[in-house]
Symmetry: C2
DNA sequence: CAAAAAAAACCGAACGCTCGTTCCGTGAAC
DNA sequence: GTTCACGGAACGAGCGTTCGGTTTTTTTTG
């Protein structure tokens, strides 16, 4: 039953093949270094057919960026469920694991972000990042402020803290999984997350209770 | 007296002009998108002359990367003086300020690092980064371990802590000054450094003394 | 239900252009 | 007279895109 192919199905399948091929090529070589002929060959379509499905090379790139936004905005994404729970900083390790998963499963798309910054001056991503920062602040602001009022948190601004932790873990795993520098702290990722969490939670200064 | 130009002086001056022109073009457009004709026009030389001074486009890029290594390895660099003093974490704010200065004064060169990662798979930088991590560990390892033994530091691994702090500040200022996203935490850089330092020093958990 | 017509998927040659690099000529410095 | 900084045309290759045509699917029509 899945054999019968309607025209729309074929078109969808072709577009998907193109996007998949283009993603791996862009991620490995950047935008300018990737040619339409390479994308055509790898996706099994002809060059002319590429232009039947897409307006041009940059549109393919733009659609790939959009794919990543949709992943990041999906409420079912484990990372987003953790954000909604807003149990920071108790869930630091869970957050790190969820971010590691996002980076691992989307390493090619994340590279596109850096390609956009370098080859397009951030043209395709700037608006989105601004919007995401605002959404983030809206999600966390009141809840964390309330918890700080109740003395459950330390004296640092909890909104800055959650942004720092999030961004740090994204950066750490991006370097490891996208830039190809594994164990760049001399630790495997599990140990590294453990150390980072300890620092973020307890701080670098000695605690009074630790000096009897 | 500075008028008299020997042949070697002219050659040096020309090479410098080429490197300066190429740096600003590479940083704005990436490697592949920058053409030898653009570099020639901006540096005021002819295309043929470019190939008299440099073996090709990639050699120009490589020499620019080397320029940045020389800056980072200079013992007179304020950041390196702070590292040698090894007063971490008391000097967190000084360290941040020194890193901000490095990023601000070398923003174009730092972009080359990211260009190398994307367009050359990190070919020009990988060896150096490995070497730098080792040097870093060698500088800090015993001193920080000794201080921790003396109870001057918290329970976190101080070597991981200093690497985290360094990398975080580099990353923060790179996003701000190289990727063109100012105030991306909703704070200006001075406030942001203050908040980051508070988090790193005191941690996110409440201190016992703060709950009377 | 089949035949004809319209639409959509698809191909690959061709176009116009720009690229990195080479080559050769010129004039100033040694 | 030899060397060296320099200029600019020329080369061969490869680029993104266009275009005319063929095949396949869908729709229309008798």
């Amino acid at each position: 039953m899945a054999k019968r192919r309607t025209q729309a199905d074929k078109s969808d399948a072709s577009a998907r093949k193109v996007l998949k091929a283009a993603l791996s090529l862009f991620a490995r070589q950047g935008f300018r270094a990737t040619t339409m002929r390479q994308i055509a060959r790898r996706s099994g379509l002809s060059v002319g057919n590429l232009y039947h499905h897409f307006g041009g090379k940059e549109e393919i790139f733009g659609q790939l960026i959009d794919q990543y936004w949709q992943v990041l905005l999906d409420p079912e994404l484990p990372l987003n469920k953790i954000f909604s729970a807003a149990r920071f900083p108790e869930d630091l390790e869970e957050m790190a694991a969820a971010i590691e998963q996002v980076v691992a499963e989307n390493s090619a798309h994340i590279l596109l972000i850096y390609i956009d910054v370098i080859e397009f001056k951030g043209k395709h991503i700037k608006a989105f990042y601004q919007q995401m920062a605002d959404r983030f602040a809206a999600t966390y602001a009141e809840r964390l402020a309330a918890r700080q009022e109740a003395g459950e948190l330390g004296e640092a601004d909890p909104l800055v803290a959650v942004m720092l932790a999030t961004r740090w873990f994204f950066y750490f795993f991006t370097v490891e999984k996208c830039f190809g520098v594994p164990m760049h702290f001399g630790l495997d990722s599990h140990q590294a997350v453990h150390e980072f969490s300890k620092i973020l939670r307890r701080g670098l200064d000695p605690r009074d209770v630790k000096n009897p």
